[in-house]
């Protein structure tokens, strides 16, 4: 809070506090540390791929370990904690309550992240963020794989605890004079994304148990040598992690809903269509998981069903883009730092979505599947839309939290560099 600067508190007081702004700050600092760590791995990966053959990374296994930890880190230790940081800081303020509903649970959810991160980084597993059984069951070396499983398990519990806290804070602790329709869109985004977490995460939590007992050799759920089916893992994994993409993107859209009206100096074009689109997105997020699995040998009927389910997400996403553009329309737009990031994020949201339609269309998917096209599509979403919304909001948040202002010029340059880099992707 602003007053903290005048009379700084010792760091351990912030670390072991259960107040929502302090926990929010801890989430924020943690997520930024992992942004740098995951980003460093990304730089090494790209530098290695600059030329064919092996340049800077000694062997292929080290490279495989690096992209696995890169993906796991940036999804679970940067994007998710960043969203939690913003939610912790603003949701109680926006629903006019003194703190989160369960402050201690909130602090516990945060303190699960460092041990989980330690397990993932010290293990340094090699089987991609998808884990990919039966390879990970019969071939991947322990204890790296087992450490990854427990790391993800702890992060899953942390996400569920956080989601319960957000839902209860918004539904039960909001000011009695405030109707659901009056709740700001940022808080709505946390309500819908937390509901997705509650429905989606337990599936993967179960899959992790199966996966671990398969590794111990006591069961064979995903191991064909023991009569199991690796495709079952694919279903369980994507039933959690396709909705997970929406868990990441919905708060980022919520952050853009804060930034865009402020710097267009106009109210949001339609508050109610924003709420409607959030609810719609949270529902269609569950109708499309198997579009990740066209090439596993699905039948024509299955593919058709999941193509329709995937295309159904487009109108809801398009409603948000319409809302943003209609809010900016005829507004007195000031391209301050957060606005630049938000507008850049919308442009990348559009291109990522357009690429998604290509992936969803069955015959085209067989051209793009398992290729760098999909890697590009995915990064346009996570590094483009979600990180742009998040970083824009970070600049929006910074003066409010610290009472100081950053260097606008320096940051404009960083924005332009990142935008052009995303174009190259």
């Amino acid at each position: 809070m602003v007053l903290e600067l005048q009379k700084p508190r010792p760091i351990w007081q912030i670390m072991f506090s259960t107040h929502h702004t302090d926990v929010g700050l801890m989430y924020l600092i943690t997520s930024l540390i992992f942004l740098f760590m995951g980003g460093a791995l990304a730089l090494a990966i790209r530098a290695e791929l600059f030329l064919p053959g092996s340049q800077i990374i000694a062997d292929s296994m080290t490279f495989n370990r690096m992209f696995t930890v890169h993906g796991t880190t940036l999804i679970f230790l940067f994007l998710l904690p960043f969203a939690s940081a913003v939610g912790n800081y603003f949701v109680p303020i926006m629903v006019r309550y003194k703190d989160m509903a369960y402050p201690k649970l909130n602090a516990i959810a945060f303190w699960m992240i460092p041990p989980a991160a330690a397990l993932i980084w010290l293990g340094f597993a090699d089987f991609t963020w998808y884990a990919n059984p039966p390879y990970s069951i019969i071939s991947a070396p322990g204890p790296a794989a087992d450490m990854w499983i427990f790391g993800l398990k702890i992060l899953g519990i942390s996400s569920v605890l956080g989601a319960i806290n957000f839902i209860v804070t918004i539904l039960k602790c909001k000011h009695p004079d405030m109707s659901m329709g009056q709740i700001p869109l940022l808080a709505w985004s946390f309500l819908t994304s937390s509901l997705i977490v509650l429905v989606a995460i337990p599936t993967f939590a179960a899959a992790l148990f199966f996966f671990f007992s398969d590794r111990l050799g006591v069961s064979g759920f995903f191991n064909p040598a023991m009569g199991g089916n690796p495709i079952a893992y694919a279903h369980l994994f994507w039933f959690t992690f396709h909705p997970e993409v929406y868990v990441l993107v919905i708060p980022a859209i919520g952050m853009m809903y804060e930034i865009i009206p402020r710097f267009s100096r106009k109210p949001i074009f339609s508050h109610s269509s924003g709420i409607f689109a959030f609810v719609l997105l949270s529902m269609v997020s569950f109708s499309s998981w198997a579009h990740h699995m066209y090439a596993t040998g699905m039948s024509f009927t299955e593919k058709t069903v999941f193509m329709i389910g995937t295309l159904a997400a487009v109108p809801a996403s398009a409603m948000h883009v319409f809302n943003f553009i209609a809010t900016m329309w005829n507004g007195r737009i000031k391209f301050a730092t957060p606005m630049m990031w938000a507008v850049g994020g919308i442009a990348l949201f559009f291109s990522a979505g357009a690429g998604g339609v290509v992936n969803a269309a069955m015959p085209l998917d067989f051209q793009t599947h398992d290729s760098y096209w999909v890697v590009g599509h995915f990064h346009l979403f996570v590094m483009g839309t979600i990180a742009f919304g998040s970083i824009g909001f970070l600049y929006y948040l910074f003066p409010y939290v610290t009472g100081r202002m950053y260097n606008e010029r320096c940051q404009e340059e960083s924005m332009i560099i990142l935008q052009s880099q995303n174009g190259l992707l």
Partner: protein, 145 residues
Amino acid sequence: MGHHSNWPEWIYIGVVIALMVWVGSEAWNAERLVEHIPADAEVIKVTGQQWFWSFEHEDGTKEIGELHVKVGKAYKFEITSKDVNHSFNIHDYVVLLDAVPGRINTVWFAPKEVGEHDIQCREYCGLIHYNMRGKLIIEEADTTS
């Protein structure tokens, strides 16, 4: 809020939905045609394992790392794996299907011109995944026999 008219948004949503219906139905129709396997297609059994491809023709001929086929014929691949997940891919002919242990996936193709094309694994399968390649050699149709 409330001081604007909503009709532009409805028109916009209508256009987006119409576009998606068009993309979806075109894709559905194309996939339906592509998946129709010709009745006279010759079966080739494809097996992936760490880290090479092996093939077995209908007449029992076996090949490792190389696959010889003839122009003008249709071939049906029956793809499986011996150990972990792989993905059988002939990029130039957009043939792509996962090789999953304990499961047989089928896809077909008909080579059009004489030539050589790359076969690769397109699903991460461990240490030498990056080099799990093969060669597809398309030969002149056999007219002598």
